[in-house]
């Protein structure tokens, strides 16, 4: 076999791994792959606004400012506050004092913020796109002479 006949075979042998490597690189660096491995932080707070006279929890002072103009209550307490660190599509959450589970699933990060699926057992299913560090407030159920309030705030 002459040298000129062997050359194309050698080239093909080298080209196949190179193409495979290039494809792996392209797929791994694609936005979808970057999204899949991305982790996002979420501040989750459960508060209780009540008709009983009392203080406003300092941790919920900003929430009080947001609600005070439109809703009437006497006191506001933070019942639970936690920072979730979730991968996209991973489910995290908290159980409310009523026993209902709040499930949070980040779906996508984009220019408009973080798209989150929120499922409050038997009560509410919603998808919200929240800009980073902008909270969403969800008034859920009546509880103990007041209302349970869940707030979510992306922090990534």
């Amino acid at each position: 076999m002459s040298r000129s006949e062997r050359a194309p075979g050698l080239l093909a042998l080298l080209a196949v791994p190179a193409v495979v490597a290039a494809l792996v690189f392209i797929v791994a660096s694609s936005p979808a792959a970057a999204q899949a491995v991305r982790r996002v932080g979420l501040m989750l707070m459960v508060s209780h606004a009540s008709q009983r006279p009392g203080p406003v929890d300092p941790a919920a002072a900003w929430l009080d400012r947001s609600l005070r103009g439109d809703f009437r209550y006497q006191s506001l307490h933070v019942l639970e506050q936690r920072h979730l660190d979730l991968r996209l599509q991973e489910i995290g959450g908290v159980v409310l004092p009523t026993g209902k589970r709040v499930s949070i699933r980040p779906l996508h990060v984009g220019d408009g913020g973080l798209l989150i699926s929120v499922d409050i057992e038997g009560t509410l299913e919603t998808d919200v796109r929240i800009p980073n560090r902008s909270p969403v407030v969800i008034g859920v159920d009546s509880y103990d002479d007041g209302k349970l309030i869940v707030t979510l705030e992306p922090d990534y």
Binding site: L63, L124, T126, R133, S134, V137, I138
Partner: protein, 178 residues
């Protein structure tokens, strides 16, 4: 007071964006099903447009000349002018710019600019299933000034699940008691 009368008393504030979030939500909800109040709101909007147009039209340059020509001539002064004047004497060359400056200040104080278009992008809430329970959604808005106390630059979006017995009637309720 009927529902339309109550809503009608809020339409001016609704048009000017001066209502609280909850009242604004009630008005929006009422307008969806009330042709009469929608017409009323359109009339309020037309009136506002007309006022803005009127305020923005500059007077004709020869307006003063026309007015001055119609003014009666000053009568001859019979009494002598006192010799001493306490204040500085205003030259007519200073009075004209001073008048223009005063007019500019007054126009800044009393002419309201047209509201800026809402810069909020597409809504926060993309889908919602409340299993038949009434739910109020108040989309957050960017605030002009940063609030003190740390938290957000913008007012939050509020999703409020109403209790059936608490679904307020706008004829009776201005705010929701939690």
């Amino acid at each position: 007071m009927t529902s339309c009368e109550r809503i009608g008393s809020w339409l001016d504030g609704y048009h000017d964006g001066e209502l609280g979030a909850l009242r604004s939500w009630w008005v929006t909800r009422h307008l969806e099903g009330c042709e009469g109040c929608r017409s009323e709101l359109a009339a309020v909007a037309r009136l506002g447009d007309w006022m803005r147009d009127a305020a923005s039209q500059a007077p004709a340059p020869d307006l003063w000349a026309g007015v001055a020509a119609r003014l009666p001539l000053p009568e001859p002064r019979l009494e002598p002018v006192p010799a001493r004047r306490r204040g500085p004497r205003w030259s007519p060359w200073l009075a004209a710019p001073a008048g223009l400056a005063a007019a500019a200040v007054l126009s800044v104080l009393f002419v309201r600019p047209a509201p800026a278009p809402d810069s909020q992008p597409a809504g926060v809430v993309r889908s919602l299933n409340s299993h038949g329970r009434p739910v109020m959604v108040l989309e957050g808005k960017k605030l002009e000034a940063k609030q003190s106390g740390g938290k957000p630059d913008s007012s939050p979006t509020i999703i409020w699940m109403m209790d059936e017995q608490h679904d307020p009637n706008p004829e009776e309720v201005a705010d929701v008691t939690i």
